[in-house]
């Protein structure tokens, strides 16, 4: 059964980017306004799922040749490393550090080690969601 999904595909092409941009925004804004690594990761995954629905899993695999298992492990390592790094500074496990900086273009910016941890969460969420969907979707 071959359906005509030109409309879905055309819309997807535009919407995917909007979702992705929104995901990035929400990930970075998470510490002060609604959002964070978890939602950011889910949104990114949903953008990719949308692509898969519109263009098929194989096509998307070619466009985004990412090994999601590796992505998951990198995320986990990043999260644990951020948490463990505090030991090197002789403070208890999982102590975060932050400060405010004047950066060009961004102005006054807060840089927070929680950000790195959140990035780990983001990677794990995208990695696992996509792993599950890809594995089940590809199964014969």
């Amino acid at each position: 059964m071959k359906t005509n999904d030109v409309m879905l595909q055309t819309v997807t092409k535009v919407v995917t980017f909007i979702i992705l941009m929104f995901a990035v925004h929400i990930f970075f804004a998470g510490h002060y306004t609604p959002g964070g690594g978890f939602v950011g990761g889910l949104l990114t995954a949903s953008a990719i799922v949308l692509l898969m629905l519109a263009f098929g899993i194989q096509t998307v695999k070619k466009i985004i040749p990412v090994n999601y298992v590796v992505m998951t492990s990198v995320g986990l390592l990043l999260a644990i490393a951020t948490a463990a790094a505090s030991i090197l500074f002789d403070v208890p496990f999982f102590t975060h550090a932050y400060d405010y900086f004047e950066l060009p273009l961004f102005g006054k910016t807060s840089l927070h080690s929680a950000m790195l941890f959140d990035a780990g969460v983001y990677l794990v969420v995208v990695g696992v969601t996509m792993t599950i969907i890809q594995t089940i979707g590809e199964d014969e």
């Binding site: 959002g35 995954a45 594995t135 089940i136």
Partner: protein
């Protein structure tokens, strides 16, 4: 600080092994590994002079300060002796393994990582002063032994042997942990030195005998004492370097170490003396008797190890008896402690070389079956010489180290007859008799091992490979050990002064202040014929005669059944079957059954807690007014829920389920929880997509098997869950047992956490541990799904599983 870090040196080195194996494949990985034990051995040797004078070294590394758990390396004579054995024999075994394991065909990275892991574990066992870290290392030796026995994991026997050793030794380890905890409660400290210093007060405690028995269970399982020895013969499936190292020279001696280490605490108890001496001696007899039944070279050596361990164990028991005698340092009883340690060294030397020879024979002829072997003497002259030296030392012949310690063993056993406590005056005579019989069998199996392999008729047609001498490199280690066996015979008192006395002083602090107080002179010839010498001569005569006629009576062994092993097998089979049956009772394979269990259990627990604590609280104050929006969303929610229940097609159900999720998200929006709303919306979207993707694989909905009773039960559970959730919600709203934490978050979120969005700061900071473990769980779930779906064994692959 540095000493305790040295324990971890091997396991840190292990991190680089896979890399070296993959990147520097042309050089055998063993050469790199060799550096570790060799360097440690040299370092520990430099400690000898100060330790021999009675000094000790302590270094500490905090592990869990809040629970007062630390790694404490405490090195005295006993620990140093074991550390030297571990690193010294370790270096020789690694050198041997370089020639034994082919670098192209074997998975060397696995092998050496396990081996180095074991080295750390073993060093930790013999150096730890803290009972909990001692236990940690103890179990790590069991695990690394499991991995090494199962190194050729495609073989059925390897897996069986690995599991058997693991089950028995870990059982013992857990018992031992119980004993440790009891000791910790009694003495209010986990430090062994601390416990020894208050040993007199511990004796009268209620737990004393319990702790004693539990710790002995640990020691007996590890050191393969009767009736737990059955794992050791099956552990021979490991590569021969492993058998030489773990299962004869080091790991199985951990139990001896434990007994020796705890002698100062438990020596006061008659139970200890009887159990350690009795079980040890009986094991010695049992092992030596059944060694002659074996047809496999390594099987003979395994039973011989069991027997020799029993011998040393019994000597340790006798040395504890010295606690009860006033003038223990002046009578023959004093030889027991010395003999135990001295024989331990001798055993490591000769058994190590014998195992290596067994490996060489296996390697060069392709079989270890002693019935097929014979006449290798002229083909493998060096191996033969080494085997002869090792076996003669084991049999107790001069001029080899074993002769000296064997004679001291008999001295100690004879001395026990003069000991008049714990009804030894009645039963004491049994000890030298059993020891003598055991020694006769030891003599016979030693000769059986050498001469049935190397003498007699050569049978080339039965050998899988034409026999020839081993490469030079493989011979270095056994030849070195054989030379050592001879050297020890000629300089026993130097060995005694440097290695044995410091260890003896650590075992018997109630007799000796410092190693220099140990006045034991070892001599091959005392100037006159002692009772022990008569016994030795008797062993040679009777043993020689029985070996001569061995072929006539050896077949009688077939009459003895393998009771203990079949007991283990039956036990395993029954527990397997029982567990399987029990699981199948409730594991139906239908998710709906599992949901029924879970939900009914949940309802019972929660409602039960409600009733027990009288936690029903319904307070309608402070409720927000219900507006039009809420009513509309609620109706949508109800409508879609009912649709799920009654829809005939799965597609409808999925879409209705999505509608439920979106309605909940709308609630979040109304109640101003943007984070939750956002997450809920995205999750709903993705799970609907996932459902659609997985749609093809799901079976058609069938409702035929649902009878009325089943439906009624489900309705009751559903009702229960509904009531329960409502009650929880009402109670949570009404009764504020604790002040809300939200104020704390509001105050600290900017000042201390440097953030603005409380929800996210909770996720990454306040409760970061939760998130860390949650993403861990997510990762595991992902791997689980891959395993379930991608790694399914097809029928064709399934047939190869056991090859």
């Amino acid at each position: 600080m540095s000493l305790v870090l040295l324990i971890f040196l091997p396991i840190i080195a292990a991190l680089f092994i896979p890399l070296l194996f993959k990147k520097v494949g042309q050089i055998h990985t063993g050469w790199f590994v060799l550096l570790v034990p060799a360097a440690l051995f040299i370092y520990y040797s430099t400690l000898l002079p100060s330790i021999a004078e009675g000094g000790n070294r302590v270094s500490e590394l905090q592990w869990i300060p809040s629970l007062d758990i630390a790694f404490i390396a405490y090195i005295d004579g006993l620990s140093l002796l074991f550390s030297l054995l571990i690193t010294g024999i370790g270096a020789l075994v690694v050198l041997y393994s370089i020639f034994y394991l082919d670098k192209y065909r074997e998975q060397l990275h696995n092998f050496y990582v396990y081996l180095l892991m074991f080295m750390t574990a073993m060093l930790g066992v013999v150096q730890s002063d803290h009972l909990i870290s001692l236990y940690l290392f103890w179990e790590l030796t069991s695990i690394s032994s499991f991995l090494l026995i199962g190194y050729w994991y495609t073989r059925d026997r390897s897996r069986f042997g690995a599991l058997k050793s693991m089950i028995i030794t870990v059982f013992g380890g857990l018992m031992m942990l119980g004993g440790f905890v009891l000791l910790g409660i009694m003495g209010n400290t986990y430090s062994i030195r601390g416990l020894i210093s208050q040993a007199p007060e511990l004796v009268g405690h209620d737990f004393f005998v319990w702790a004693l028995v539990l710790i002995l269970l640990g020691a007996f399982t590890k050191s393969a004492q009767f009736p737990f020895y059955i794992w050791l013969p099956d552990a021979m499936e490991a590569p021969t370097p492993v058998s030489a190292y773990l299962h004869s020279a080091t790991m199985v001696k951990a139990g001896l170490y434990l007994v020796a280490r705890f002698t100062p605490i438990f020596a006061a108890s008659g139970t200890w003396v009887w159990l350690v001496t009795g079980i040890g001696l009986f094991t010695m007899l049992w092992g030596s008797f059944f060694a002659l039944k074996q047809k496999d070279l390594k099987g003979i050596l395994a039973f011989s190890t069991v027997s020799q361990l029993g011998l040393i164990m019994s000597l340790l028991g006798v040395s504890a008896a010295g606690f009860h005698v006033e003038n223990a340092t002046e009578i023959a009883l004093k030889y027991a402690g010395f003999a135990a340690i001295f024989h331990l060294i001798n055993h490591a030397v000769f058994k190590g070389s014998l195992f290596m020879i067994a490996g060489i024979v296996d390697h060069e002829t392709g079989t270890r079956d002693i019935r097929k072997l014979g006449g290798l003497m002229s083909l493998m002259p060096i191996s033969f010489t080494v085997a002869m030296i090792g076996a003669f030392s084991m049999a107790g012949l001069p001029p080899f180290g074993g002769f000296l310690s064997k004679e001291m063993f008999l001295t100690g056993m004879v001395a026990l007859t003069e000991f008049d406590l714990f009804s030894m005056d009645v039963w004491g005579i049994l000890f030298p008799v059993i020891a003598w019989i055991g020694s006769v069998f030891t003599f016979i199996y030693s000769f059986y091992f050498v001469f049935h392999t190397f003498a007699g008729k050569h049978k080339p047609e039965e050998l899988p490979k034409p026999a020839h001498e081993a490469p030079k490199g493989m011979l270095i280690s056994p030849v070195f050990l054989a030379i050592l066996a001879v050297v020890i015979f000629f300089i026993p008192n130097i060995v005694g002064e440097w290695l044995v006395n410091p260890a003896v002083a650590a075992i018997q602090p109630f007799m000796y202040e410092s190693p220099s107080d140990v006045h034991v002179h070892v001599a091959a010839w005392h100037g006159y014929i002692t009772p022990e010498l008569w016994m030795t001569l008797g062993i040679f005569a009777v043993g020689g005669l029985m070996f001569w006629t061995l072929r006539k009576w050896q077949h009688q062994y077939e009459r003895f059944p393998n009771t203990l092993n079949s007991l283990y097998d039956k036990g395993m089979f029954l527990s397997d079957m029982g567990a399987n049956r029990f699981s199948r009772l409730y594991m139906t394979g239908f998710i709906r059954s599992y949901l029924v269990y879970m939900f009914s259990f949940l309802v019972i627990i929660v409602l039960g807690t409600f009733v027990l604590n009288d936690a029903f609280a319904i307070d309608m104050n402070n409720l927000a007014p219900v507006g039009l929006y809420e009513i509309v969303i609620m109706l949508a929610l109800l409508g879609s829920t009912v649709t799920i229940l009654f829809s005939k097609s799965r597609l409808t159900a999925i879409i209705a389920l999505g509608a439920v999720g979106y309605s909940v998200a709308l609630f979040f929006v109304i109640f101003r929880a943007p984070d939750l709303a956002l997450t809920q919306l995205v999750i709903e979207t993705i799970s609907v997509a996932l459902f659609l993707l997985a749609f093809y694989h799901l079976p058609q909905i069938s409702r035929k098997e649902e009878r009325m009773r089943f439906r009624f039960g489900n309705a009751m559970i559903a009702l229960g869950v509904g009531v329960m959730m409502t009650l929880i919600a009402l109670a949570a709203h009404s009764g504020k047992a604790l002040p809300s934490i939200s104020e704390f978050y509001k105050e600290t979120v900017y000042k201390e956490a440097g953030g603005g969005n409380i929800v996210n700061v909770i996720l990454v900071d306040y409760r970061g541990f939760d998130t860390l473990f949650e993403i861990g769980v997510l990762g595991i779930a992902g791997i689980g799904i891959i395993t379930l779906i991608k790694l399914r064994l097809t029928k064709k692959e399934g047939q190869h599983e056991n090859k």
